[in-house]
């Protein structure tokens, strides 16, 4: 929320982002989609290739990359106003934090 302490300033800032419309080109989107497809293929391959204990962290990393590619590029969060990022990340961060603790109370802490 610190991003919006002064309206005037903000308005300018956002207007800039907005007017600029740094929207990636179609080509850029297609390339990203290619990467996403590749990652999905890699993810799926873990089903056939046994990676042992590496599988889970690897899968989580790939998931995170895909997640942010979509959020940042497809949903323009990278190019849009910071405020949108803030709004969304508060929710996302809160969800991850709260639910991790929640699951942890069942699994690790409980005796």
């Amino acid at each position: 929320m610190s991003a919006v302490t002064d309206t005037t300033h903000d308005a300018e800032h956002a207007a800039e982002a907005h007017d600029g419309h740094h929207t990636p080109s179609d080509r850029h989107f297609i390339i990203i989609a290619g990467w996403l497809a590749l990652l999905t293929a890699l993810e799926t391959s873990t089903y056939w290739i046994d990676l042992g204990s590496f599988a889970t962290p690897l899968l989580l990393i790939m998931m995170t990359i895909k997640f942010f590619m979509i959020i940042l590029v497809f949903m323009h969060l990278k190019y849009d106003s910071k405020l949108f990022s803030v709004m969304f990340y508060i929710g996302l961060g809160l969800a991850i934090l709260v639910y991790s603790v929640f699951l942890a109370t069942f699994q690790f802490f409980a005796r």
Partner: protein, 673 residues
């Protein structure tokens, strides 16, 4: 009324009218299925309204009604507990009574009453003409109303919910609670939950995006700030309870296994989900009142809020830390010592930002010029009573101590002190403070003082003894307490239970006087002065009650407490600088009016919010009684959605009667619609 054309005689000063934004839409009647309703009088002007002020008043009226209902339920509870082994209520009825008392008070009184204030005053305080999404605002109100009615019809349709307001599983499973009460509870809360969620989005956008020029966030009134935090809490807490409610209703109505211990379910799942919502919820309950008294105290101390930034940040801190403490409701649930220790320490952290607030309010009084109006009395009452409740909260925060206190009247004492002494008294401060703004008449101060003292005294009389009762081992949610365990001497349960019952009727008397005060005031002809309290913020910089478009011209804000700074200026005298009044409210208003905006767009009324809202209880009744009804409800919903989407956002001129010759723009409604 959609577009206000001001007479052309309005002096310039006004920006070039042609540069005003192109009407955001260019509606044609052909776009929508119907023309938009345009009534400005009569019941249609209320039912189809999207005006934040009208919606605010409706929110207020309905939640006040539910306060009386919830209070009546509380009185029945207290009557039953007035004597040992009493028989006023049967066990079954008693269980329904405290469940519905809590549900009504929390979800149908405090939350919507806070929403009432938010609706009415947020746009005014930030200098906007309405909220960001007026139709969604209307949808929220109708969802709340229909949800509340739906919940309460359970009384006559087989009994209300009887599982306690946190509805622990597996007692809430159909096996253990076979009546439909809990189904009503689940679905009813689901409906009012949607209201809260859409309301939250709407108000956040309003605060962030609709501020008047110059109104930076750090110039926003504290009430707006606290509402912002509250709405964020709602935004993120409602989905959690939604999940919990869905799981429960899938179990109850479609046989899912979620809380079926036979199949290996863990009952703690519900507890976690409920309290992940439930603890932020208690701050949702209290923060609006914190906001209100942060307006009232400076006004009647005649000086700015002490440490504005600290109050704002501590509010945000409460909102943040509040997410990390939910398991303090589960200290006896068997979480394991590590979790318990962590949550115990985290809970104590919340006391710090709250303490900052208490200190700042006290320091606001310090060195002021205190004017003890009823609103001020209530605000000071809040500081005192909330501190008592907050401090007993800290005693629960210590987990080992809490294993003695939990589920006893000691807890009941804690939360009634913070809720009734904090949140409810805060709302009453708001009533007295803003009544002249909303209705143009001052509530009687004489009755107000009676109202305050009876409530203040009553709250202490009712809830202070409960600290004792709890520590003497009286658990909560018990339809009877047995004579043989009352004990003897000063701390015997019998005496203190009676005191609590007497206290509850004292509160009721206070509330009754408030209701009388409303009627007395309504009869009064005398108008309130424009600025009766010498107030500080923007909502007072307009007529009382405000015109439909709030401000004749959107004010430009230069400082925190803008209105005050327009009225007063510092003048150097022999003995140092002195604040002197340079303008009256009337003068400021006249200036604003003279510089009024030429072309004001206001949102037009709409049929669809009420239609859409109506579909949900229909679906819900269907889930309980007959799925065919749900299909009908879904039909209404689809109809509502399409009507909504296709509706032009401003009523077409042809929806209005053509203006009479020479009479200027018409406000008459057309015969259709």
């Amino acid at each position: 009324m959609a577009i206000i054309e001001r007479p052309a005689t309005v002096p310039a000063f006004v920006g070039d009218a042609s540069a005003s934004p192109p009407a955001l839409v260019t509606p044609t009647a052909a776009l929508g299925a119907f023309k938009r309703p345009v009534s400005t009088t009569g019941w249609k002007s209320w039912v189809f309204t999207v005006d934040h002020k009208k919606l605010g008043l409706m929110y207020g009226a309905v939640s006040l009604f539910f306060f009386l209902v919830g209070g009546l339920e509380a009185l029945l509870i207290r009557l039953q507990l007035a004597a040992p082994d009493n028989t006023v209520l049967s066990a079954d009825l008693y269980n329904q009574m405290f469940t519905m008392h809590a549900t009504t008070m929390v979800f149908l009184f405090v939350m919507p009453m806070a929403a009432a204030f938010a609706n009415y005053f947020l746009p005014l305080q930030v200098g906007a003409r309405d909220v960001a999404f007026p139709r969604i605002n209307a949808l929220g109100f109708w969802l709340f109303l229909f949800g509340g009615i739906f919940l309460n019809t359970s009384w006559v349709l087989g009994g209300a919910a009887d599982g306690g307001w946190f509805m622990y599983s597996p007692n809430s499973s159909p096996l253990f609670s076979p009546s439909h009460g809990i189904d009503f509870w689940v679905l009813g809360l689901q409906i009012t939950g949607i209201a809260s969620l859409v309301g939250a989005i709407n108000l956040i956008v309003t605060i962030i995006n609709m501020r008047a020029p110059g109104m930076s966030l750090m110039r926003m009134p504290v009430f707006a700030w606290m509402q912002l935090v509250t709405q964020f809490l709602l935004l993120f807490a409602m989905p959690v309870i939604t999940v919990a409610l869905f799981l429960l209703s899938f179990q109850r109505n479609f046989g899912a296994a979620f809380f079926d211990v036979e199949k290996g379910a863990d009952p703690l799942l519900w507890q976690h989900l409920f309290w992940i919502f439930g603890h932020p919820e208690v701050y949702i309950i209290i923060l609006p009142s914190f906001g209100i008294i942060s307006e009232v105290l400076p006004t009647f101390s005649r000086k700015p809020l002490f440490g504005y930034k600290f109050v704002v940040f501590s509010g945000a801190a409460i909102g943040t830390v509040g997410w990390g403490v939910w398991a303090h409701h589960m200290f006896a649930s068997g979480l394991g010592p590590v979790s318990v220790a962590v949550f115990s320490a985290a809970t104590m952290l919340v006391a710090i930002p709250t303490g900052v607030k208490i200190c700042n309010w006290t320091l606001t009084l310090w060195g002021g010029k205190l004017w003890f109006t009823t609103a001020m009395n209530f605000a000071i009452g809040v500081i005192v009573l909330f501190t008592i409740g907050g401090l007993s909260g800290v005693t629960h925060a210590s987990a080992p101590a809490d294993t003695q206190q939990t589920d006893t009247y000691h807890i009941v004492a804690h939360f009634h002190y913070v809720i009734v002494g904090g949140a409810v008294m805060g709302l009453f401060a708001g009533f007295y403070y803003w009544w002249p703004k909303m209705f143009g008449k001052l509530l009687s101060e004489r009755l107000g003082k009676w109202n305050f003292w009876l409530m203040f005294f009553g709250v202490n009389l009712t809830f202070a003894p409960m600290h004792i009762l709890g520590m003497q081992g009286q658990p909560r949610r018990m339809v009877v307490w047995p004579k043989k365990l009352t004990g003897e001497g000063f701390f015997n349960l019998g005496f203190w239970n009676q005191v609590a019952t007497v206290g509850s009727f004292t509160i009721a008397l206070g509330v009754l006087i408030f209701v009388i005060n409303i009627f007395v005031t309504a009869k009064k002809v005398e108008k309130a002065p424009l600025d009766p309290w010498d107030a500080r913020t923007l909502e007072w910089m307009t007529a009382s009650p405000p015109k439909e478009h709030n401000f004749d011209s959107i004010p430009t804000v230069h400082a925190l407490d803008e209105f005050f700074h327009r009225k007063y200026e510092e003048v150097d005298t022999e003995d140092g600088p002195r604040l002197v009044r340079v303008k009256s409210a009337e003068q400021i208003l006249a200036e604003e009016e003279a510089a009024g905006d030429a072309h004001i767009h206001l949102p037009s009324p709409s049929y669809w919010p009420i239609v859409l809202a109506f579909s949900l209880p229909v679906i819900a009744y269907g889930v309980i009684f007959n799925l065919m009804l749900s299909v009908v409800g879904a039909g209404i919903m689809i109809l509502g959605l399409f009507g909504w989407v296709l509706e032009p956002s401003v009523a077409d001129d042809s929806d209005y009667d053509p203006p009479a010759e020479g009479s200027g723009p018409s406000k008459e409604l057309a015969s259709i619609g």
